[in-house]
């Protein structure tokens, strides 16, 4: 209880949390009013500022070894809203800032306002929606109030869905509408659950709730509703139907953000729910069930990815599988066991490395589609020689997905494997190994024709700077494999399951 009280006190640097959210929000407003080329300029100018803010927040968390807290309007929960940044928030904030910046840099070529016009539809929408997604993600990473998080989820939905149909083709409209249906269904279920918790305990604050929650029927139902809603937004098997068409049809820069970051937004909220709001529930069976769904997603998504003829669809199906790994965090990091540290670190490492790897792969896939004029894998013969940097980025991202050393994906899977062996969850260990093999299979399917000898005429060579944006993200995904122990200690900061131990 003492820890709970401490977690409610505002700390040094708290105002940075508000500024971090307001920065992209102001960007949205400015871009909307100024329009045209200014939308792009505002977005690109704010990206480095946002990165600095994210690093500053992460630094403060690291230095104090405890969450950074701010009570908005100086009013403490339950009446007011609190923002809290812990280790998880810190790494996610920096990840989001880096990927948004890279995607924005990459998108300059696609979403430039054409010469001779003051404003064009797709660029206007893209730059505003990109900043909208960024604002929503920051809110989801540092929000500490269930309704505030709901607003974040809504922001994310309304920013992400239009990105899917930005090209204006009819099939993208269908994909976007399906995405919208799933996302709204998820919102309603989440909101119902949050309302139930408020009805039962009179507060929406995560820390206050964690001290009050007891295994009542209302809490179980709220947990079920909120989890189901969030799973639909995260596209965990079997609620994944919307994801492949949505992510495969969006423009490459949008796909990178959607696949790398947007699904992580709702995932972080599931993590907050189970590890921060509900640790008092005896939820072993539920956690194992989530892990089982994750396992099914790994196998199902990987097998489907193996069968895709088009590169972007293959990468989108691989996202289904990689989301599955995220959910192994629930059985492997819950409760008070020695292996939960590995389980937690592994799950978060997978979140980060997949974000970078998948964003890099989608950016590369966009370059390939532009340079070849198509993305049919069977006709990639010789493409590796024609655009080596692009395929290097794609390959490094694939390396991380497979979990080969040295890469963030390897570190993640190694930690998850260790945790599942220690926990006696042999099935998860087998799934981890099988998933790695299947990933190797589909990455090999892309690279083997591309690296084969052959002559290939490019429609246009890829732009160097855009190749480097993709490569930089892929390098980060690999470099995560060299993360020192301090990095993993950072991930543990503010982890409530540990704090709540007697």
């Amino acid at each position: 209880m003492i820890e709970t009280a401490a977690a409610l006190e505002p700390t040094f640097g708290g105002p940075l949390l508000v500024l971090a959210i307001l920065l992209p929000v102001v960007g949205v407003l400015l871009s909307f009013v100024l329009g045209g080329r200014f939308a792009e300029r505002v977005a690109l100018a704010l990206a480095p500022v946002g990165l600095v803010l994210a690093l500053a927040i992460a630094f403060l968390v690291w230095r104090s070894g405890a969450p950074v807290v701010y009570n908005i309007a100086g009013l403490a929960p339950p009446l007011g809203i609190a923002l809290r940044a812990d280790g998880l928030s810190g790494v996610m904030l920096v990840t989001a800032a880096l990927i948004v910046a890279a995607a924005g840099f990459y998108a300059r070529a696609t979403f430039a306002t054409p010469e001779g016009s003051t404003e064009a539809r797709a660029p206007f929408a893209f730059w505003i929606l990109l900043q909208g997604i960024w604002a929503a993600l920051i809110l989801l990473f540092i929000g500490a109030d269930l309704f505030n998080l709901y607003v974040g989820l809504e922001l994310l939905t309304f920013a992400a869905v239009p990105l899917v149909c930005l090209s204006g083709k009819p099939e993208t409209l269908v994909a976007a509408l399906r995405y919208l249906m799933f996302a709204l269904f998820g919102s309603v279920f989440y909101l119902l659950g949050a309302a139930l918790l408020y009805g039962a305990y009179g507060t929406l604050d995560i820390v206050l709730l964690s001290g009050r929650v007891a295994p009542l029927p209302a809490v179980w139902l709220a947990a079920g509703l909120m989890t189901a809603g969030l799973l639909a937004k995260t596209a965990l098997f079997p609620l994944h139907l919307w994801l492949p068409p949505a992510h495969a049809n969006a423009p490459a820069a949008a796909s990178a953000v959607l696949s790398g970051l947007v699904v992580k937004g709702s995932f972080v909220v599931v993590v907050r729910l189970w590890f921060y709001v509900l640790p008092a529930l005896p939820g072993d069976a539920a956690q194992v069930f989530l892990g089982a769904l994750g396992s099914a997603a790994i196998l199902f998504g990987s097998v489907l990815a193996l069968r895709q003829p088009r590169l972007k669809l293959l990468i989108a199906y691989s996202t289904l599988a990689q989301i599955g790994y995220l959910f192994l965090i629930f059985p492997l990091a819950s409760g008070q066991h020695p292996w939960t540290i590995d389980g937690w670190n592994g799950g978060l490492m997978q979140t980060l490395s997949h974000a970078f790897a998948k964003a890099a792969m989608f950016l590369s896939a966009g370059l390939i589609a532009e340079s070849l004029g198509h993305d049919r894998i069977a006709e990639f013969t010789g493409a590796g020689r024609a655009m080596p940097v692009t395929f290097l980025a794609l390959g490094l991202g694939g390396l991380s997905l497979m979990g080969l050393p040295p890469s963030g994906g390897f570190a993640a899977k190694w930690l998850l494997l260790r945790a599942s062996v220690a926990a006696g969850h042999w099935v998860f260990a087998l799934v981890l190994l099988a998933g790695g093999l299947l990933a190797a299979g589909y990455v090999f399917r892309i690279l083997s024709p591309a690296l084969a000898d052959g002559s290939l005429v490019l429609k246009s060579p890829p732009q160097r700077s855009r190749e480097h944006a993709a490569l930089a993200l892929a390098v980060v995904a690999v470099a995560l494999g060299f993360a020192p122990q301090e990095f993993f200690d950072f991930l543990q900061i503010g982890r409530m399951a540990v704090a709540a131990q007697p």
Partner: protein, 315 residues
């Protein structure tokens, strides 16, 4: 059983029956009419639950904006033909959706009956803090003072919705205006409504905005009413939907959240915290913010109904 209880049970059954009708109706327009009726009945239910603020919102949104949005969409779907008939979901999907809904509803009903009694509430704290804001209506205090951050961000959601609606336009119409809301030659009755109802409606809207500080009402409900009035004007062709690149329109669409953020940032200088109001000045600042929120809501809802631009610049 008293008369009141009988009335409540009857009202609940009626709401349920209309809801079932809305889902089961085979014809789009029938479903839309039932849905509008459903909204009206819900407004009565909210009054029975002593939540006039929510009832007012339901009345303004449910029978105003939602009504016209659904009726217009229904008419467009109808004129688009039978293309949608092929994509109708099968019986098994219907049944599983029904089973899932039934399960969720039963579980919710069961659990809500089992919630602690009296339910934990923040009402005492809210009443205590209310004095500091100078407001009389705790709902307004929640929306604009204590949870102002949520309220501001919800307006950003609305703005993103506008961007989303506009973004499905055809490239060549960008910068132009949405299609007119009404027919070319408005009928006399429509003109009568435009000339008599609209001034009254603006009066009512301003009234509901003004009393919102102390009584049920506020920027959102008033904004929805003003939005409905603007839509009547546009349907009667007394004005046309504005071009999407009109600076005035864009300023109106962002003014609410923009003023909110400026006031929120100023809070750290004036009251030591973001989104805090200095003692004694809370009420005027809140009313100032709300005035711009009113403008934003009154502009946003008709823009959402008018849809993406469909006409180019013109000469």
């Amino acid at each position: 059983m008293s008369v009141l209880q009988i009335l409540d049970v009857g009202l609940a059954l009626l709401v349920l029956a209309v809801a079932v009708w809305t889902i089961a109706a085979r014809e789009i327009f029938g479903a839309v009419v039932a849905y509008v009726a459903y909204g009206l009945l819900l407004a009565i239910v909210w009054i029975r639950l002593f939540a006039p603020d929510v009832a007012l919102t339901e009345a303004a949104i449910g029978s105003g904006v939602t009504g016209i949005l659904l009726v217009t969409s229904g008419a467009r779907l109808k004129s688009a033909g039978k293309a949608s008939a092929a994509a109708k979901p099968g019986l098994s999907l219907h049944l599983s959706a029904a089973a899932l809904s039934l399960l969720a509803a039963t579980a919710l009903a069961g659990v809500i009956l089992a919630l602690p009694e009296p339910s934990p509430t923040l009402a005492p704290e809210a009443r205590q803090e209310l004095a500091a804001t100078g407001l009389g209506n705790p709902v307004t205090a929640v929306l604009i003072a204590w949870r102002s951050f949520d309220t501001m961000l919800e307006k950003i959601v609305l703005l993103l919705a506008v961007v989303g609606v506009w973004s499905v336009a055809s490239d060549r119409f960008w910068g132009g205006a949405p299609a007119p809301l009404g027919r070319a030659n408005p009928q006399g009755a429509l003109l009568l409504l435009e000339q008599t109802l609209v001034p009254l409606g603006i009066l009512v809207g301003v009234h509901i905005f003004w009393v919102g500080a102390n009584a049920p009402g506020g920027a959102f409900q008033a904004g929805a009413i003003l939005a409905a009035m603007w839509m009547i004007v546009m349907i009667a062709r007394a004005s046309e939907p504005p071009r999407v690149n009109s600076l005035w329109l864009r300023l109106a669409l962002i003014s609410g959240p923009a003023v909110f953020i400026v006031a929120g940032l100023a809070g750290i200088g004036m009251a030591g915290n973001f989104f805090a109001y200095p003692d004694g000045f809370a009420k005027p600042i809140i009313l100032f913010i709300e005035a711009f929120m009113l403008l934003t809501i009154a502009a946003t809802l008709p823009v959402l109904v008018a849809g993406p631009p469909r006409r180019s610049f013109g000469p």
